[in-house]
């Protein structure tokens, strides 16, 4: 077990105060050894314990066996610059615990925000629950034959939403919202949804796309532009969306070969207009054309997006 930072700090202050010689005896090793020298000292259990005449107050001596797999541990041989926080959490157990906790809390925060609105669902129906969910996240909703409803910068929205009980939700703009896999539970029951925009959503990934088949009957427009976690593996599951007419897959940093991916997606969804990579990056002649029939653009893209072997 790693020593505790708090305890080490306490002992440092104890050292600085005048002490009888007995306490100084077990400070034979420096209190904050560099990682390698610590390992050298501590991995010779025989010599360490032999030198120690009284048991040390901070139990720094038990790191030895963790480093047995020196050959395989990637950290053992890396010489990269470490930040202070990393150094502290490698050497002290309470810093490690604190940082692990902070990490867990960050992850829990996202899941908390994506809870299902079951009470509203039971009382007002699924469409309204879905609308409230999106508005709460800062998106906008459009009911059939009505105007777009948005929430303000404090994520508040008017209660008139609750009046649209029999009106289905037609379009949702969830750009930039922190929706994740579980949050989609609120959107998937909207059986008349025609337009969905998930642009720049940071937590929408391939798993989320694999759930969109439930909207296959009604969905006609889908935008996934700018989502950092989507890759071509998630785009492949969009083949269920047979009624899709417009798909925006531009600016996806997770897609390794955007040109090739766009061609494959177009082949997969023949009735759909796929808006993807900006063809002007390759040559000057593509821009004014309708991206749905890029007759001139395709050969250029094929040259560039050449199969590069098994990915």
């Amino acid at each position: 077990m790693l020593p505790s930072l708090v305890q080490a700090g306490f002992e440092l202050t104890v050292i600085l105060l005048p002490q009888p010689s007995k306490c100084r005896e077990h400070r034979l090793a420096p209190p904050h050894p560099a990682r390698d020298s610590e390992r050298r000292i501590l991995q010779e259990p025989g010599s360490w314990e032999f030198l120690r005449l009284i048991p040390p107050k901070w139990n720094g001596g038990k790191r030895g066996f963790r480093d047995l797999s020196g050959v395989v541990t990637p950290e053992g041989n890396r010489r990269k610059r470490r930040t202070l926080l990393q150094f502290l959490s490698d050497h002290f157990c309470d810093m490690e615990f604190l940082r692990e906790n902070v990490l867990q809390k960050q992850m829990q925060k996202v899941s908390l925000e994506n809870r299902s609105f079951t009470i509203i669902q039971d009382k007002y129906g699924r469409d309204i629950a879905g609308a409230c969910f999106i508005l709460q996240h800062g998106g906008s909703v459009k009911f059939r034959d009505r105007e777009w409803i948005r929430s303000d910068e404090y994520r508040r929205f008017s209660a008139e939403v609750l009046k649209f009980q029999a009106v289905p939700v037609e379009a949702i703009d969830a750009s930039g919202c922190a929706i994740n896999y579980h949050g989609l539970d609120n959107l998937l029951p909207l059986k008349k949804l025609q337009c969905l925009s998930l642009q720049r959503c940071p937590h929408v990934d391939d798993w989320c796309l694999s759930r969109l088949y439930l909207l296959a009957d009604s969905l006609q427009e889908l935008s996934l532009a700018g989502c950092p976690q989507i890759s071509e593996r998630g785009l492949a599951c969009l083949h269920h969306l047979s009624n899709l007419r417009r798909l925006d897959i531009s600016d996806l940093p997770g897609v390794e070969y955007p040109g090739l991916t766009q061609i494959l997606v177009e082949e997969m969804l023949p009735n759909c207009e796929v808006v993807g990579t900006d063809w002007t990056q390759e040559g000057p002649e593509e821009q004014p054309q309708d991206p749905a029939s890029p007759i001139h653009a395709k050969p250029a893209a094929r040259d560039l997006g050449d199969p590069c072997g098994v990915s």
Partner: protein, 462 residues
């Protein structure tokens, strides 16, 4: 915090003083860095995905942090023959046994939330490269009824599987030749394939950060003690307990006896050999003592080919009526696939050499029949791996042995060990720590079924 083991320290100190005395062999300067520790609560034999999953769940479910010392013994740290790295990496819920479906559902949940389970401070997030494209199982007239019953059961457990008629199949996947297909089942969600190597590395990293010890060595011996008791029928039963595990280091005769409380057999294809070392199966045939662990290595080939006019991006992992399977690999019209041989065609598992004639004669004809575009294909490479094949009923063995009371099994999955590893790891940790299975009831998978001759047959083996 570790309590001060004062008595232990005093005795070690006395040993050291004794060794300095003239006439005694000096073992002051012994270098034991490379050896495993002398004591460990749990020794897991086998560091593949199942063994690491057991280690992970043991550390996760322990009541107090640092309560259990776990040692993972793996004899090959390059994993050159381990089934994990050589696997095709598929995960499906389309099984015929409810427990297998539940295991898969839990495992898919684990994989989806892998960055919450295996998060390490300062470590980069894991990318499993999961392709959520589903499995497509084709059935002929003979197998259609069984397929339908299975799908009904899978749906009851919560899997999202759809049944398709040949017409629907032709419409959805025009590149299939539906001749001979009576019914097809298609996984809509939570099925697909992923990169098993990144799962293994992620588990390894997390498990090391949780304090599990690793050792590169081979288990060569168990030191056991036995105790004779009478059961309720008055018969004498010999219960055995493993006290020490001898771990031999690589390329040397040096070994370390590790004193342990529990041994977990997660040795994959070699679990049968390990069980024999512990004396399982040494007895008159027909008795519980004489029942061996029926897990043996079976070699399976996987071929990678290129077909320029092949099926597109939406191709699921297709399993044909003949047993041939294939899936897309990457974006360049490459495909990976193979077939399980029949009992007569079983290749010799002594090495991992690939038999290319098997592809020519047994795989390609069926592939070309099912997908006409595959008539023109070119094999680029191939590899072979082992299934830890359970010759009794092709399902895993999980849980303690009735006679060798502190050996727990987690092997014999016959080709679906990777996809069940998270669920199995949790089940073994539960039964080890708590005495019984808590979340998924794996009692049909216990060892005793081999003696009682109760088969839990898994029909959907690919």
């Amino acid at each position: 915090m570790v309590l001060l083991d004062w008595d232990g320290k005093v005795s070690e100190f006395k040993k050291k003083i004794q060794s300095i005395m003239p006439g005694e062999p000096s073992n002051l300067m012994c270098d034991t860095k490379h050896l495993p520790p002398e004591h460990s609560d749990v020794v897991i034999v086998g560091g593949g995905v199942v063994g690491l999953s057991v280690a992970f769940w043991l550390k996760k479910l322990e009541k107090r942090q640092g309560a259990i010392r776990v040692l993972v013994v793996e004899r090959d740290h390059t994993y050159s023959k381990a089934s994990t790295g050589l696997s095709v990496g598929g995960i499906r819920q389309q099984f015929s046994l409810p427990q297998n479906v539940q295991l898969s559902l839990f495992s898919v949940d684990f994989l989806r939330n892998i960055n919450e389970y295996l998060a390490v401070v300062d470590g980069p997030p894991l990318d499993l490269q999961f392709n959520p494209l589903g499995y497509l199982l084709l059935a002929s007239e003979k197998g259609a009824a069984v397929l339908e019953t299975n799908v009904k059961m899978q749906r009851q457990e919560g899997a999202k599987i759809s049944l398709m008629s040949p017409e629907q199949l032709q419409k959805k996947f025009p590149w299939i030749n539906t001749e001979g297909v009576a019914l097809a089942s298609y996984g809509l969600e939570n099925e697909g394939w992923f990169d098993p190597w990144s799962l293994l590395q992620g588990l390894r990293r997390k498990v090391q950060s949780m304090g599990v010890l690793f050792c590169e060595g081979e288990v060569t011996r168990f030191i056991t003690s036995s105790n004779s008791m009478r059961n309720s029928d008055g018969e004498e039963v010999n219960l055995k307990r493993i006290h020490e595990v001898h771990v031999k280091m690589d390329n040397s005769l040096e070994y370390q006896p590790v004193e342990c409380a529990i041994v977990v057999n997660a040795a994959g294809a070699w679990s049968g050999q390990l069980a024999e070392l512990a004396g399982i199966g040494k007895g008159p045939p027909g008795t519980l003592e004489g029942t061996k662990l029926p897990v043996e290595p079976r070699k399976r080939f996987v071929y990678l080919w290129h077909c320029p006019q092949g099926p597109g991006l939406e191709t699921p992992l297709v399993t044909d009526t003949s047993g041939v399977y294939f899936r897309r690999e990457g974006l360049s019209n490459n495909y990976v696939g193979g077939r399980s041989p029949t009992e007569e065609e079983e290749p010799d598992p002594a090495d991992l050499e690939v038999d290319h004639d098997f592809f020519q004669n047994k795989v390609w004809p069926h592939l070309a029949q099912r997908v006409p575009a595959f008539e023109a294909l070119k094999v680029h490479s191939a590899w072979a791996g082992y299934y830890d094949y359970n010759t009794f009923d092709q399902n895993g063995v999980v849980g303690p042995h009735p006679l060798v009371v502190n050996m727990y099994f987690a092997s014999g999955f016959s080709g679906h060990g990777l996809q069940h590893a998270p669920g199995v790891g949790r089940a073994v940790a539960e039964v080890l720590l708590g005495g019984c299975f808590q979340t998924i009831d794996m009692t049909p998978f216990l060892f005793s079924r081999f003696y009682l001759e109760e088969k839990v047959l898994e029909q959907n083996i690919i």
